[in-house]
Symmetry: C2
DNA sequence: GAATGCAATGTTATAACATTGCATTTGTAC
DNA sequence: GTACAAATGCAATGTTATAACATTGCATTC
């Protein structure tokens, strides 16, 4: 199966993550919220798992540094990050992913690969405007900026 | 909250359901599969719950007639119905719905209301073609004919 | 500097959702 | 009627998520 968390040491990526974490911290503060140590650690783990990670895998990783961590520890952090627009939940797969897009003016598509469980975030104006129009016509209103779609990823398409 | 299962007696609907069940049985047989009693009962319960129903609510209903029923009883039936294209699972809500469209040549949108958990199935050519184009451009291939979207339903939009 | 308020976290337990594995029965082809 | 596959019964377990309550740490007020 897929690794729970990116397993390659990569100092360059670490550096990018630190910057992203600092930006996230600033944007939380700007909203009067605080990216505490736990939340920052969870977000860091999400950044290191670009194709999504499960809550209990996160818990296992968090426990390495914080042996007392329990399910609520990670679920609270995840709820916070989702509230802050820093992460998304992929309902179909019970998978959590960091949001790579600074702000969600445009709703995102999440392509979930049913073969490898990988998640790709995509922003497509054309799809979203067609969607908005159809929803409005049906009397519905798009609520969440997250639309999940099962789609086989390029790697798995190739693998057959 | 919403009722687990449609609670109004309605002989007319019963009749429609019987016809739909018979059609479903025929289409299974045509594919070399068999819509057994349990599966038929589960599908019947799905038909009576147009906005979706949870697996353990189904289990409770099934147990009324079959006291020995257990989680695998309903999950196996649901898996079968999904394989046969007679039902869908809404991952975000752990909700199951009957499919109202005879065949899924066209993928369906499932509008899941985050307020009342109701599910509406919608077929929109324009959205789906925009989606197919974008996915193809990104190297992905739509796998499941089911696309779930969180959207507030007309009733809840009105309720504010 | 004690008391208060409050957000975050710790801790335990349990609810809710889903699957595995294996024994038994049923249906059906030969 | 034997043999085989499909379906079901059943118990246990695995997985995901939340409830309920206690504690900590820090800022503010008195």
């Amino acid at each position: 199966m897929r690794p729970a968390v990116s397993d390659v040491e990569n100092p360059l990526a670490d550096c990018e993550n630190t910057q992203a974490l600092d930006r996230a911290e600033a944007s939380c503060r700007a909203r009067g919220a605080s990216l505490t140590a736990i939340r920052r650690e969870v977000l860091d783990l999400l950044y290191r798992s670009p194709t999504g990670v499960k809550a209990y895998d996160l818990l296992a990783r968090i426990k390495e540094a914080r042996p007392g961590a329990s399910p609520p520890t990670v679920y609270r952090a995840l709820d916070f990050l989702i509230d802050q627009g820093l992460a998304h939940k992929i309902g179909r797969m019970n998978l959590f992913v960091a949001c790579r897009h600074a702000s969600h003016q445009i709703p995102s598509l999440f392509l979930v690969c049913p073969k490898c469980s990988g998640v790709t975030e995509l922003q497509e104006q054309s799809v979203m405007s067609a969607l908005s129009t159809s929803l409005a016509a049906a009397g519905h209103r798009l609520e969440s900026p997250e639309v999940e779609i099962s789609a086989i990823c390029p790697k798995c398409v190739g693998a057959g």
